[in-house]
C-alpha cells in the first residue's frame, strides 16, 4: 500500500512544509472533502501550477492518487477526481476569460 503514498513525498519535495495540510492532494482532487473547502479556486490553481512546475505529470499523479484511495477501499474518493479536474479546468477557463 505504501508505494502510492510516494506521491505525498513527491509533493513534500515540491512544497516543503507549506502544503503539509494538503499533501494528500484532496485539496485539488476531492471536491467533497473538507480540504477542498479550505482553499479558493485561485489558490488551487496556484498549487496545481507549482506541482506542474515541480516536474509532476498530472496524469500520473492522479493515477497514483486514485490507486492509493482504491487500495484503502475508498473508491468514492478516487471516483470524484475527474469531477475535480473538470471543476479546476472550468475555473481556469473562467480565469482566462476574465
Amino acid at each position: 500500500m505504501n508505494q502510492h503514498l510516494d506521491y505525498e513525498f513527491r509533493i513534500d519535495k515540491i512544497f516543503g512544509i507549506e502544503l503539509y495540510k494538503h499533501r494528500t492532494l484532496r485539496t485539488l482532487f476531492d471536491p467533497y472533502s473538507t480540504e477542498w473547502g479550505k482553499t479558493a479556486m485561485d489558490e488551487k490553481l496556484k498549487i496545481l501550477k507549482r506541482i506542474v512546475d515541480g516536474g509532476e505529470e498530472l496524469n500520473f499523479l492522479i493515477e497514483d492518487y486514485k490507486d492509493r484511495y482504491i487500495e484503502q477501499n475508498q473508491n468514492h474518493i478516487a471516483k470524484v477526481a475527474e469531477e475535480a479536474i473538470c471543476n479546476l479546468l472550468a475555473a481556469s477557463l473562467k480565469n482566462k476569460t476574465e
Partner: protein, 413 residues
C-alpha cells in the same frame, strides 16, 4: 461506428454545424485519437470556452461522454478523457496563470506594500567604484554603517561587530543562557541602532522584566514578586530613563509559520526601521511534528528564508538554536559545531556556540574562576577569523561583561 451520441448533438448545436468535425469531443478528451493532433491547445481551449459559455457543465458533459463510450464498449476511450483534461489543464496553468503569479521575489510582500518599497540592488563594477570606496574608507571620519557594535569589546575585536546582511546563529544547550545573552546583546545594540526582538517564549511583560533585571541588576524573582526596596525603586526609575534611550521593539506575536515570521520581520523593518532582528528559537514553527522529513524541510526553509530576508532587507538577523552538548571522555560538557543541524550550518554566516561551564558543575568541582565564566565560541565566521571569547557572567541577574580574555582560536569542532 456511425451511431450519434447524445452529447454530440449538443455540441453540434453549440457550434451551429450539424457536421461539426469535433463534435465527438475526442479533440479535447482523447489524446490518443487522430483528431486530437488536428488542433492546437489554444484551439481546444477556445472550443471548451465556447461550450461552457453556452451553458454546458463540463463535468456532466464528460460524464455523458464516458457513459456513452462505455455503453458501446469503448472503455479505453472513456478512460482517456482524464488524460485529455489533464493535458489541457497543465497547459493552461503553465501558460495562463502567469498573471496570477506573484513576482519572483524571495518573500511575499506585506499587504498594502509594493515591491517597489524594496529597491532592487544593482550590480557594481569594481573598477569604477574601488577608488571612491577607498577614498571614503581612508577618510578619518569614515563610519561603516554596515556594522553594528555588539557592546562587547572582545566580540567587536574580531571584525567590528555584526554586519548587515548576515544571519547569525547563537547555539547552546538548555540552561546555557542563549536567550539571556540575546537580551543582553539586544540591549547593548539598541543604543546604536534600531533593534527588533521577536519573542517566542516570553510575553512583552516578562521580556521587559528580564531586560529591567539586566539593566537594574535586580534579580527577576524580586521584580516578579514585587519585593522592592527604596534603592530598587530609584534604580528602576533610572532604568526607565535608560530604556527610553534605546530603540528596541518587542514583538510577541505567536509565530505559527515561517511565512508569518518573515512577514513580521518585514513589517518591523518597514514600519519601525529596524536594522537588527533577534529571534528566539530556530525550530520548526509549524505544528507538524509528525513527520521527520517535514521538520527538516521546514527548518531548511526557515533558515533559507531568514538568510534571504537578511540579504534582501539588508538587516542582521540573530537567531538562537538549541543543541544538546555531549560530554567528552573526561566527562566535560562542551559544544561542538557538528551538533548543530546541517541546514543551520549551511545558511548561517556566523555561528557562536554558547557555553556556561558552571551549569554542568553538579558536584561543585570546577575552578572558582570558571564559576563566573561564559564562553562564546565563534566557530564559523564567513567574514573573518574564529575565536573563543570569555565573558564574565553575573549569575544572579545574568548579565555579561567583558573580561579581556580572548583566544584567537577555536579548537574543538
Amino acid at each position: 461506428m456511425s451511431t450519434e451520441f447524445l452529447y454530440e448533438s449538443k455540441i453540434a448545436k453549440i457550434f451551429d454545424d450539424d457536421n461539426f468535425e469535433h463534435r465527438s469531443l475526442q479533440t479535447i478528451l482523447n489524446p490518443h485519437s487522430s483528431v486530437w493532433d488536428k488542433t492546437t491547445m489554444d484551439e481546444k481551449i477556445e472550443m471548451l470556452q465556447k461550450i461552457i459559455k453556452n451553458g454546458e457543465v463540463l463535468e456532466y458533459l464528460v460524464e455523458s461522454y464516458q457513459a456513452d463510450h462505455i455503453s458501446f464498449r469503448n472503455e479505453e476511450v472513456a478512460k482517456s478523457s482524464i488524460s485529455g483534461l489533464c493535458e489541457i489543464i497543465t497547459y493552461m496553468v503553465k501558460e495562463y496563470s502567469k498573471k496570477i503569479d506573484e513576482p519572483t521575489k524571495f518573500v511575499k510582500p506585506i499587504p498594502g506594500k509594493k515591491w517597489s518599497d524594496f529597491p532592487e540592488k544593482q550590480p557594481i563594477a569594481v573598477s569604477k567604484t574601488a577608488k571612491k570606496f577607498i577614498d571614503n574608507f581612508i577618510n578619518p571620519n569614515y563610519k561603516n554603517n554596515e556594522i553594528i557594535k555588539t557592546g562587547f569589546a572582545d566580540l567587536d575585536k574580531i571584525d567590528g561587530g555584526f554586519h548587515l546582511g548576515e544571519m547569525i546563529v547563537l547555539a547552546g544547550d538548555n540552561g546555557n543562557c542563549k536567550d539571556q545573552f540575546m537580551i543582553n546583546l539586544a540591549l547593548n545594540m539598541s543604543l546604536h541602532s534600531k533593534v527588533g526582538f521577536i519573542s517566542l517564549h516570553d510575553s512583552k511583560t516578562s521580556l521587559l522584566i528580564r531586560m529591567l533585571s539586566c539593566l537594574s541588576e535586580i534579580p527577576t524573582f524580586h521584580l516578579n514578586e514585587h519585593k522592592l526596596s527604596e534603592n530598587n525603586i530609584l534604580n528602576l526609575k533610572n532604568c526607565a530613563a535608560e530604556l527610553e534611550k534605546r530603540e528596541l521593539i518587542i514583538n510577541d506575536n505567536y509565530i505559527h509559520s515561517t511565512s508569518f515570521l518573515i512577514e513580521q520581520c518585514k513589517k518591523m523593518v518597514i514600519e519601525n526601521g529596524v536594522k537588527i532582528i533577534f529571534f528566539e528559537s530556530l525550530t520548526s514553527n509549524d505544528d507538524t511534528k509528525h513527520l521527520k522529513n517535514i521538520i527538516e524541510y521546514d527548518l531548511q526553509l526557515l533558515c533559507r528564508e531568514l538568510k534571504k530576508v537578511a540579504l534582501e532587507l539588508n538587516i542582521c538577523v540573530v537567531v538562537s538554536s538549541k543543541l544538546t552538548f555531549k560530554s567528552d571522555k573526561d566527562g566535560v560538557f562542551r559544544p561542538y559545531l557538528t551538533q548543530l543541524r546541517n541546514e543551520t550550518q549551511q545558511y548561517a554566516d556566523r555561528i557562536m556556540l554558547l557555553h556556561l561551564p558552571c551549569f554542568y558543575d553538579l558536584h561543585n568541582k570546577i575552578d572558582e574562576r570558571l564559576k563566573n565564566v561564559f564562553n562564546v565560541h565563534l566557530c564559523r565566521n564567513r567574514m573573518g577569523s574564529l575565536a573563543t571569547i570569555e565573558l564574565h557572567v553575573n549569575n544572579s541577574v545574568t548579565t555579561f561583561t567583558d573580561t579581556n580574555d580572548y583566544t584567537s582560536n577555536y579548537f574543538y569542532y
